[in-house]
Amino acid sequence: MNDLSPRPIRFVHQGQIRDVSGLPPTTTVLQWLREHAHCTGTKEGCAEGDCGACTVVVAETDPATGELKRRTVNSCIQFLPTLDGKALLTVEDVSRSAGPDRLHPCQEAMVTCHGSQCGFCTPGFVMSLWHSYETHAEPLPRPALADALSGNLCRCTGYRPILDAGEQMYQAPRVTMDMTPVRALLSDLHRTGAASLVYEGPNAACPGAVQRFHAPRTLSELAALRAARPEARLLAGCTDVGLWVTKQFRDLGEVIYLGRVDELQQISYSTSPSGAPCLDIGAGVTLEEAWSTLSEAMPALREVWLRFASPPVRHAGTLGGNVANGSPIGDSSPILLALDASVVLRHGHTTRELPLHAFYLDYMKNAMQPGEFLQSIRVLLPNAAGERLRAYKIAKRRDSDISAVCAGLWLALDGDTITAARLGWGGMAATARRAVATEAALIGQPWTEATLRRAQAALRQDFQPLSDLRATADYRLRVATNLLERFWLETRPDAPLPAAQAQVWPATC
């Protein structure tokens, strides 16, 4: 792969294949749209993937099925080279799909329901509504529609008319965008340039320097590239690294993008050495796919899935990225710790498996060696009758908010007695971490209120959290001990409370 020569970024936009070169590799899709393609329908509201004014749809061919996959993403934090081999669809395409001087039903419904006031967030909502329209033949129930729109902020309307539009858009005769030309262009692209991408452009962070962006297509290619370039920056979903550029102006140096390696985007079922069923989730699997699969296997995780960032972020961000990034407030790690997940690390041709709790060393430090990368995450699925699992997230807002505290709580009960415990916590320490003393206080004890109180006391020994803008240390500790109480109320052998009596956002259990 080292002998690949740099070539332009090639993607489909407005019925044409665009060849882009000469721009920094960290140019965002939004910058390209607005400043270079002069398509100003897509707006910048925050440049950090949190407001949705920049929402676009990226279409690509699913290597497994050959189908066209369409996902909403935040164009403000996606680097342009990540579009290579894909198609970019924007509000201008949606407008055109209904024919000249007409609006698409989702746009028409926004007009008749009075879903726009200042109008600045509107193109982003149109894209999320259109994506929902294209992916669902029937109107979504309102709560599900609200979840689908959780990545779009509107400061004017209060959302009611937009939710109305999401229902009403189905009342008009259905308008389906003809994707045949996009498919044809994508297959043209693949015929002429299916190979890995090496792109070179000016380094925006370092005037005069050249920045290189690699997008390998195969796992072995990636492994060799990574081994040869241990100092290069690995990039998966751009949902965090994107902000390093748009907000922190960091120099990423050479970039290796994982998003074009099909083998990393697979989920498979296997069996652990102990015979337990396992899920193997490739490091490039999106958060949306990973969490929907996990939630299907373990319905207790569903609420955290829905509250984890927003659809456009989950469509771009990856489970591997969330785990490897190792933020103390990432929502995957506490839950994966409770599930006793392990990480499969690869260097060249060799792989090694490490329990997740041994992966995190300290604040933003992990056990990965130079040249290594995260290949997959192995999750043990609960399979015994006595197991109890819950996932709780505490934040100021239900949707798309970073956790003050996030917890994955798992117990194995033999009758009334706790035989094993794994309590994963985020927001409580420099890394996501298990509560070792608390687990010790539980194991071998009956799952009673007295045991709960001892566990709560132990939890106060396990953690000394920080105060910051999201919560004080005191609240973090209090709410964490109270979450243990909620866990007990919901899972105690004697008269457990249904989730609807213990939570305002009850998880499905």
Binding site: G41, C118, G158, A204, L469
Partner: protein
């Protein structure tokens, strides 16, 4: 759902048709979509950053102070200029005119000079052909600045303790509050913190300045106040107002944040454009927008109140301290409105309310929808809530016991008579339609059997004064042009920020001329057309500009009627304008034919229009007079579910009945009511501002850290209705202003949360719940109630 009853509206507008004007259906009263809706949804509505850039355009970024307070010893301009891609550097020394853009008091430097007053204050500007290059250099501001740090005052409490204010303290008094409190059978007192709020307009601040010939400067500015931008830019450039043109087609939201605070950006862009002789665009990144500009003032209220056995307030002594920030900006009028809305909907016989605008080394706080009114009203609602709990009564009954009367007990503490109090029937209707009493019983029953989750219910009313508190601001102008093809172009001094002002103005022009609204287009606001305008603020946009535009249209109609009566030999009152036609006796003429005929007869087919709100007077010293033309009313019932283990909560249902008089456009009005409700709910719950306690840096400076409501925060049942009413004053179409008043409706959400927390202690303890009621604040209150039991 939530559609107003159309029969009522069409019926009302028909019965209210001005004599000699129109018959139904008229353009006024119809729920027409926003004039730009089709452009919005297609991505074709142009905001300033969407305008094609002129050749040679430079992009500007601001270098911000890295400290909260300090002596500015030097800026390494040479090093900045040496940075790759930097075309120019602008500092205070480059401002040809006055280095000030203060709205009222002249204490707002455009670029820091001598002293830096807050972390985030613009100190210099860099320009580059590439926006990102400019931003990258500006982001390293600290390394180019030499600043000697000084002690910083970071909280309003600290500033108040030091007696440091941006304007002199204010006092609104009636009767003898001290005696009334002392002699009352019961007393209650408290200190209460109420957070501020970021406007979070989706389109950030932006100005695009284009140098014109001579001393001319044309600035496309996202602003609610083009005339003020014109003045500050003229002063900064040292030119006259007639040299500066400010244009604003639309804003992507304003909410008060682009009233005075668009000034610094307009000025920097204009100064740079003048210096360099090139177009300059200054579009802020969201984080910089948060760090530079101010927002809704947070308040600290302290009160002692005396009341009787029925819960009636006999006397209230209140001290309000606001976080003004480093300069005056609009803090004085915000505080004046807070003092004038402490009464909210209630008769308070003896009042002594003092207001202190505390000077802090933080962003200079400014206008935000409600303009102090919500903060003032919040205090009395909290007081009544405390009284209810002290007496063991439903808070609604205490609120009802204190409501303004209609024939007595109807004079505000500042001396204005509440002339059209509709609160009694409005609340009666809402109590009945929301089944408040039955739901109260149901909530009580639920709480008895629910150990973790508690339900809470609250009804809060509102009364909101409409007009600028400063009399001379209550004026507006408009131009109406009728072209020979029968199309109509309107220009007025108001600005469109999403509220639908242009739609309403177009409807009123169409209504006045009896034509279909499709004939009417409203153009961008432009200081070279209608001049000396007031900010589109204080909810007065439609009241003022609608009247001015209707006045202009009326003059044209009068001329057309005169022309037709002469031509047809009929009296002028035989000419009627309706149904997109002109009826002359038995004859029905197409509007465009009439227009063409009038043109041929050399009749003037365009007109100016003007409006000044009558009856207003205000004495700023004594804080008495009639500051408001009229009042708007409303009430809301909210029901919440609170998790007493975590402090998480959910709004289950909200029922709203709001008074917009006779609506010009019920769809837009409902949109304003609902939008304000959710926005105000965000203010009181999830939207928390957090300044670093040592550095003074605002840490919640983007949507990742500052959480405005999302679609899931909408209640499952949201029943919003307009109250059947018409303005007793001769307002435009007998409607009432709607921008700000409904922001008080979600006080009901806060007090429902407080009610649920109170249920933890069987309503025997008043929860010390602060605002915003984040999960942490709620859990703190839950734990305080438990501790007090």
């Amino acid at each position: 759902m939530n559609q107003p009853t159309e029969a009522f509206l069409t019926g009302q507008s028909a019965s209210n048709a001005a004599p000699n004007a129109v018959t139904s259906p008229t353009a006024a009263g119809r729920p027409l979509p926003h004039e730009s809706a089709r452009l919005h949804v297609a991505g074709e509505a142009h905001y300033i950053d969407d305008l094609p850039e002129l050749a040679g355009t430079l992009h500007c970024a601001l270098g911000l102070s890295p400290v909260a307070h300090g002596r500015l010893l030097g800026i390494d301009v040479a090093a900045l200029k040496a940075e790759s891609g930097i075309a120019a550097v602008i500092t205070a020394a480059d401002i040809p005119g006055t280095n000030d853009c203060g709205a009222i008091v002249h204490d707002d430097p455009i670029l820091a000079q001598g002293t830096v007053h807050y972390l985030g204050q613009p100190v210099f500007a860099v320009l580059s052909a590439d926006r990102e290059t400019a931003r990258r250099v500006a982001a390293r501001a600290a390394s180019f600045l030499q600043i000697e740090p000084l002690p910083a005052v970071l909280t309003p409490e600290a500033a108040h303790a030091a007696g440091s204010y941006v304007v002199p303290p204010m006092r609104l008094q009636r009767g003898n509050a001290a005696d009334a409190v002392a002699q009352a059978p019961h007393r209650t007192s408290r200190t209460l913190k109420l957070g501020g709020q970021e406007q979070f307009y989706l389109e950030g601040q932006i100005s695009y300045a284009i140098p014109r010939e001579g001393r001319g400067m044309h600035v496309h500015c996202s602003t609610q106040h083009p005339s003020e931008m014109q003045h500050v830019v003229a002063h900064a450039l040292g030119v006259h107002a007639h040299d500066v043109l400010i244009e604003c087609r639309r804003m992507g939201g304003g909410f008060g944040g682009k009233e005075s605070q668009s000034a610094v950006f307009a000025c920097v862009a204009a100064v740079a454009a003048r210096r360099l002789g090139r177009p300059v665009k200054l579009r802020l990144d969201r984080d910089d927008d948060f760090l530079i500009t101010g927002r809704r003032h947070c308040f600290v209220h302290e009160w002692t109140v005396g009341h009787d056995d029925e819960g009636r307030v006999l006397g209230a002594q209140v001290e309000m301290v606001s976080r003004a920030g480093f300069s005056a900006d609009l803090s004085a009028p915000v505080m004046a409105r807070a003092l004038c809305h402490f009464d909210n909907a209630y008769w308070l016989p003896h009042v002594d309310v003092q207001g202190f605008c505390a000077r802090t080394n933080t962003q200079s706080n400014t206008a935000f929808r409600g303009f102090g009114g919500p903060q003032g009203a919040f205090a009395i609602e909290y007081i009544l809530d405390d009284i209810a709990r002290a007496l063991g009564r439903d808070a609604l009954d205490v609120r009802l016991a204190n409501l303004y009367g209609t024939t007595q007990h109807n004079t505000t503490p500042y001396g204005q008579v509440v002339e059209d109090n509709v609160l009694h029937p409005l609340i009666d209707q809402l109590v009945s339609e929301s089944a408040y009493r039955a739901r109260r019983e149901a909530a009580t029953a639920f709480n008895q059997n629910s150990p973790v989750l508690k339900k809470g219910l609250a009804l809060t009313p509102l009364k909101f004064g409409i007009s600028f508190n400063v009399v001379h601001l209550n004026q507006a102008g408009a131009l109406v042009h009728v072209y020979t093809d029968g199309s109509i172009l309107v220009n007025h001094g108001g600005t469109e920020m999403g509220q639908g002002l242009n739609t309403k103005v177009a409807q009123m022009v169409a209504h006045t001329l009896g034509v279909k609204p499709e004939r009417v287009r409203v153009t961008a606001t432009d200081t070279s057309k209608v001049v000396n305008t007031s900010a589109t603020a204080a909810s007065t946009g439609s009241d003022l500009n609608g009247k001015a535009a209707a006045d202009a249209a009326q003059q044209i109609r009068t001329r057309l009627a005169q022309h037709l009566s002469e031509r047809h030999g009929l009296p002028a009152d035989a000419v009627r304008f309706a149904d997109d036609q002109v009826h002359v006796g038995e004859l029905a003429l197409a509007f465009e034919d009439v227009v063409m005929g009038a043109y041929m007869a050399r009749v003037q087919l365009w007109s100016d229009g003007f409006y000044a709100t009558p009856k207003l007077h205000w004495n700023r010293e004594t804080m008495t007079g009639r500051p408001f033309y009229y009042f708007a009313y409303g009430a809301a019932v909210s029901e919440v579910l609170v998790d007493t283990l975590t402090g998480e909560w959910k709004l289950l249902q909200a029922d709203v009945l709001h008074d917009v008089g006779q609506s010009i456009n019920p769809a837009l009005d409902i949109g304003q009511v609902e939008g304000a409700f959710i926005q105000g709910m965000g203010w009181l719950t999830s939207e928390e501002l957090y300044w670093h306690p040592q550095s003074g840096k605002l840490m919640t400076h983007a949507p990742s850290t500052y959480k405005i409501p999302t679609a899931s925060d909408l209640p499952e049942a949201f029943n919003v209705k307009l109250f059947a009413n018409r303005n007793v004053e001769d307002s435009i179409h007998r409607s009432k202003a709607v921008g700000e008043p409904p922001l008080l409706l979600p006080l009901s959400v806060f007090f429902a949360i407080r009610d649920a927390v109170s249920a933890v202690g069987s309503h025997r303890v008043s929860p010390p719940l602060r605002a915003p009621a984040t999960p942490e604040a709620i859990l703190d209150a839950v734990d305080a109630v438990k501790a007090a039991l």
